[in-house]
């Protein structure tokens, strides 16, 4: 079980904070130790729960509160290619300690050309859900693997999973989705969590690879669930767009959409392929998949525009879809903006029915999504939806709460891949 360089335990850290009384809703560190082998990790995990009752100190120094139970609802594995990414992920997960107690493994690699080594930090974080309630605790293992060990992450993770619990694999940054390493890890996973909007370049290669995974029969029996923060973040936009068609007199226009155009922020000098287009792409893909449109012509650079030369924003992309006999034009248009590159600025939808034209412009202002629409020349009442930026912690929580795979997300992902030339 041990890996090269493993063996000696460094023992229990004896920090006074470990015994501090818990504050309701605030995760507290109740156990912390380090080791340098897999066997050491397993021994430490056993020690944590054998040492129960873990207690906190009362005002008079007497033990005050017994920790209730180790609780796990899932295995959460985070693959952080650098230790800094691991730190950031750890901070997010600690905030979820009470909400979704899990066995968390954060695995980072370092020094790939050096000798093999392993450094594991094992912690128990506990949370007091309310006064007079017992604390709820979950385990947290932060692993850094050096040298060749770091190339075999799946072998490190497998023995540390709690059996019979689902495995969620969170892969922040740029996951190498078609590598052997990724496939080995994905074979253990029930759900893969990524953030497509953080991928480097335009992100479309990774998107195509991601779409291929959901149909891979070797992964979770062909039902691997995929959660992309980029898609989850758009839920309020989707709510806003859906609300346009809640009015019975406007609902029929849903079947008369003739164009969808999305503008997104780009920075000067980014050039072709330099701006991540995953978010604007998902807008078109979601709408198209909900309305059962097929991709006729994938997105290509609009030859009629010279953005690249003029502002260095990269070209607009145009493509076409089909809904029944109707053609639907799709357009992704970069616009110079101070906002983070790839941020959606507007979604514009045009629909026709019985010689009437419905125009919808959904845009973001500060922390709101605003819907402006008009029917022929008549302006319809504006609607605003609060849409504060959702932190990773909320997105991860939502991901963990969802069970099985979301057919709407799968359909949007498949359509997005087809829009960028995938199968």
């Amino acid at each position: 079980m041990g890996v090269a360089g493993g063996g000696s335990e460094r023992g229990l850290m004896d920090a006074p904070a470990l015994n501090a009384p818990g504050i309701v809703g605030q995760p507290a560190l109740r156990w912390s130790s380090r080791t340098d082998s897999l066997a050491g990790i397993e021994a430490e995990l056993a020690r944590i729960w054998r040492s129960a009752p873990l207690t906190t100190e009362g005002v008079d120094g007497m033990p005050e509160r017994r920790i209730a139970a180790r609780t796990s609802v899932l295995n959460l594995v985070v693959i952080a290619r650098q230790p800094e990414l691991g730190e950031r992920a750890a901070a997010v997960i600690r905030m979820l300690a009470g909400r979704h107690p899990s066995r968390t493994l954060i695995v980072s690699s370092a020094d790939p050309d050096g000798p093999s080594w392993l450094d594991a930090h094992i912690q128990a974080h506990c949370i007091l859900p309310r006064e007079n309630a017992p604390e709820t605790c979950a385990e947290f293992i932060n692993l850094i693997a050096g040298g060749e060990t770091g190339q075999h992450v799946a072998a490190i993770v497998a023995p540390l999973l709690v059996h019979d619990l689902p495995v969620t694999l969170w892969w922040p940054g740029d996951p190498p989705l078609i590598s052997r390493q990724a496939l080995d890890l994905l074979e253990m996973a029930d759900r893969l969590v990524v953030d497509g909007s953080s991928w480097s370049g335009d992100g479309v290669d990774r998107l195509r690879a991601l779409a291929a995974l959901v149909d891979d029969r070797d992964l979770a029996g062909g039902t691997l669930a995929v959660s992309d923060f980029a898609l989850l973040r758009q839920s309020r936009w989707r709510e806003a767009i859906a609300s346009c068609f809640d009015r019975p007199d406007l609902l029929p226009f849903l079947r008369g959409i003739t164009s969808v155009a999305v503008t997104y922020a780009a920075h000067r000098g980014a050039g072709a392929g330099g701006t991540n287009i995953i978010k604007p792409l998902y807008h078109v893909a979601w709408l198209a998949s909900r309305l059962e449109m097929t991709v006729v012509r994938p997105l290509v650079a609009d030859s009629a525009e010279e953005h690249d030369g003029v502002a260095g924003l990269g070209p607009a992309l145009i493509g076409s879809l089909r809904a029944g006999r109707r053609q639907v034009d799709a357009r992704l248009q970069p616009v110079a903006s101070e906002l983070p590159s790839g941020t959606t600025l507007t979604v514009e939808i045009t629909a026709h029915r019985h010689h009437q034209a419905l125009g919808i412009i959904v845009s973001a202002e500060a922390e709101s999504v605003i819907v402006r629409s008009s029917l022929d020349s008549q302006t319809l009442p504006e609607r605003r939806f609060m849409a504060p930026r959702r932190a990773d912690v909320d997105l991860l929580a939502e991901t963990i709460e969802s069970v099985g795979r979301d057919p709407i997300a799968v359909a949007a992902l498949r359509t997005a891949a087809r829009l960028v030339g995938g199968q």
Binding site: A68, A69, T71, V73, G98, R99, P101, I127, P129, R130, A133, P134, T136, L232, S235, R236, R238, E239, I241, A242, S243, F245, D246, R247, L251, P252, L254, R255, L287, R290, L291, E292, G324, S368, P381, E382, R383, R384, F385, M386, A387, P388, E398, S402, D406, P407, I408, A409
Partner: protein
Amino acid sequence: MARKATATADTAPRTIRELRMEHDGRRKRTAKHDTNVLRDGLRLDRVPDPHVMVLFGATGDLSHRKVFPALAQLWRSNLLPQDWMLVAVGRRPYEDETFRGEIGKSLEQFSRVPLDTEVAAQFLSRIVYHQGDFVDYGTFDRLAIRLDAIDAEHGTRGHRLFYLATQASAFPLIVAQLGRTGLDHEMSGGGWRRIIIEKPFGRDLDSAKRLNREVGRVFREAQVYRIDHYLGKETVRNLMVFRFGNGIFEPLWNRRYVDHVQITMAESIGVEERGSFYEETGATRDVVQNHLLQLLSLVAMEPPTTFEADALRDEKVKVLRAIPALSPAEISRDVVRGQYGPGWVAAEAVKGYRAEHEVDPDSETETFLAARLQIDDWRWSGVPFYLRAGKRLPKRATEIAIQFKGVPHRLFQDAAVDPEPNLLAIRIQPDEGILLRFGSKVPGLGLDIRTVTMDFTYGSAFAVDSPDAYETLLLDAMLGDASLFTRADEVEAAWSIATPIVESWVNDPEPKLPNYAAGTWGPEAADDLIERDGRRWRRI
């Protein structure tokens, strides 16, 4: 409850020819044209339409403690539309700003999650105060004009949610005034009108029918949302998930396997400052007619065909109607009333009910009720349901216990004691959870059997705050989902059970009251009630 969008719309072709064409690849499946398919799968809670909420009784205790904090939480969670306004109606004179100041203080005191200053300020800016007496026609005439002005200024589009958080005696008057001014009229181009009514919904069957009639003269039943906040509690809602989302319990949920059911709602507190209210109410009207019978109907109902408001409420009403009204003789045999005397609760000496503030020293009001009810239907015939509710009991606990029958044959002859029958206890509060009791062999060479429990507490699996019942219910009313609200026929069915009991006591000589000491589990007669059937109350 239908807040989450439902599954993908039915897109199936309808005729055999269409099916064959699809099978042959000649017909492309098209999405159904009369549903907004973009709503499918939206995971976020749906945001209600822009509207104005009109809160009557806005200066009262309920509004300050429950309604405003719940609304503020919904605002904080971005679940209220941005085009939302609240008109607070009350008799006391306030300027908008001073009233907002009062609400701000209440939010600090009663908010479930503390609010950011900025969020609180945004929320308060949505509140305007409208002073007036409910008997005054002018109050409502001015209100109608003001609501139109708010529509024009804030884009609330004629949608109105009226909320009656006043004394029950004011309900008919307010409803009539709303009718007189036409504020109940729903407009053809949108503009829904809904009304939320707080309990009590009458104080007996006749007054409940009268109230329903008076409300029905102005509002259609589909516009009426009667709040019993118990139904909005997370664990009560979970009862339905537990029963109908798990396959292993439902087959056992009937007379063949269940020996009896106990429903307990114990409070350790007394009547506190509500003496005069409680004098007129008593335990039967305060909690049995509504909360306890709601729990009973959720435990005993048949699975509804869909999770929609009327399907759910139809099943609950069926259960209540299957409980026969008790005759005076049955009441004296199967119902026990009690009143607490002085005693000790949680290491504190407490006074008896008759010595409480605003309570008649010779009061005959019951602070405890135990009853044995039967449900005469196919599923439950012969299974007694024992109910008990009371104040100044040893602890606060609400629980439903399903006691299963014992094994049919004693197999372990050598065991010192027979294995106890299995029990499933659903704890509603506090420490929400589910406990299953079963027998297990004691380790060793012999064959002793001991009862052990599998105890699941929500706190350990979901260490997250649940929304307050009022948050759930207010949002549901704004979205037009009446699943968790009580329908008129449901209220009347519950009163049909409770009214004969309270009426029989008028002619029945009182038991010697007080008949239980504070801090005990009620009068001895309550123990006799269940023990004569060879059963015991669960020790909680």
